[in-house]
Symmetry: C2
Subunit: 201 residues, 2 copies
């Protein structure tokens, strides 16, 4: 069984991602937008837990056709977005350039005393990010800060086969632009009102 | 089978809650603290989704000794706190007076296409709140804004038997003060560092 998070699906496409050559100057950043080193390395946001929470899911991971294993760990996934972009989406149903999403993956623990079988979030597992960035050919970039205990301070944008799967899934299965708004209950209604949902949602 | 959320457990105690008679003037409110009508009716915060997210759990509900039913709905619970109180806790491991917690209960939906069996949050079910408030004899007050579709704009503090269960559980089973910090993974480490965990945690 192979299992990865939705944001880093290991779908391997032949070509996929084409780098934008000669990155143009970046637009003026909002105060809570992405922070880069050397122009493209995204600094890991240290305050994302104070950003706007979009939703949490449990075991929303890809599972290939060999089926689920009983031994796979149960994982919660929290998604946060920078606050100014959240407010912009609430007004327009669209994400402004330089929107930053952080995907936080945490272990699920079981509560046995108060509520048998209830599941709550415990240790951090991994941290990833997605940024709307007009400098990239697809308009979006994906980052991987690694696993808990050895988180990287910054991540270059994923390239080649690693990002091709991200782009394919975020193109084919997302409700608004490259984002899984169908899983963000307070946003999907806004997108419906603003007419920004893709066909089929 | 009887099932309620952890914040509104129907434990019935004989006396429990004693009203503070002649409520003293309130301390100066922080800008994101509680907003009252008539001194004690808590206005339902309209912007709590922009507050600081503490954690999400699944099915963390009380189940009495008759056991769980297969037919019970699966529910996610999100907890948000006003941002200034969050920052205060990160500094001190304690909650300042006028800290407001919002408990948002949502249905769980199953994803069948992308990730068989994965669960994500969907419709709102109910909204509740807990406030640290030195005007009350226990130091904390509990509020119920009702169920989705007929949410109340304001809630009086729960009284009598309804609040006795809240207080009993939040006294006996919480890691810090009257709050379930053991379920908030970014806070429990702070409480450990600051020495504010109750014995047993």
């Amino acid at each position: 069984m192979q299992k990865v998070t939705i944001w880093l699906a290991p779908v391997i496409l032949g070509s996929g991602f084409i780098w934008a050559v000669g990155l143009p100057a970046q637009e003026e950043a909002s105060s809570d937008g992405p922070d880069y080193t050397n122009g493209t390395e995204l600094q890991r946001p240290l305050d994302y837990r104070e950003w706007t929470f979009l939703s949490s899911s449990l075991n929303l991971t890809y599972i290939d056709e060999s089926g689920a294993s009983e031994s796979r760990p149960e994982l919660f996934q929290n998604v946060f977005v920078n606050p100014s972009s959240y407010r912009s989406f609430m007004d327009s149903g669209q994400w402004p350039n330089e929107t930053v999403f952080v995907l936080e993956i945490r272990r699920s623990s079981q509560e046995e005393t108060l509520s048998a079988g209830g599941q709550f979030q415990s240790n951090l597992v991994a941290l990833e990010a997605e940024v709307k960035d007009s400098r990239f050919s697809d308009g979006w970039a994906f980052y991987d800060f690694g696993v808990a205990g050895s988180l990287r301070d910054a991540s270059p944008p994923l390239e080649g086969e690693r990002v091709a799967g991200c782009i394919a899934c975020h193109t084919d299965h997302t409700a608004v632009e490259r984002t899984f708004v169908q899983f963000y209950p307070t946003l999907i209604e806004i997108a419906r009102q603003k007419g920004t949902l893709k066909p089929g949602f």
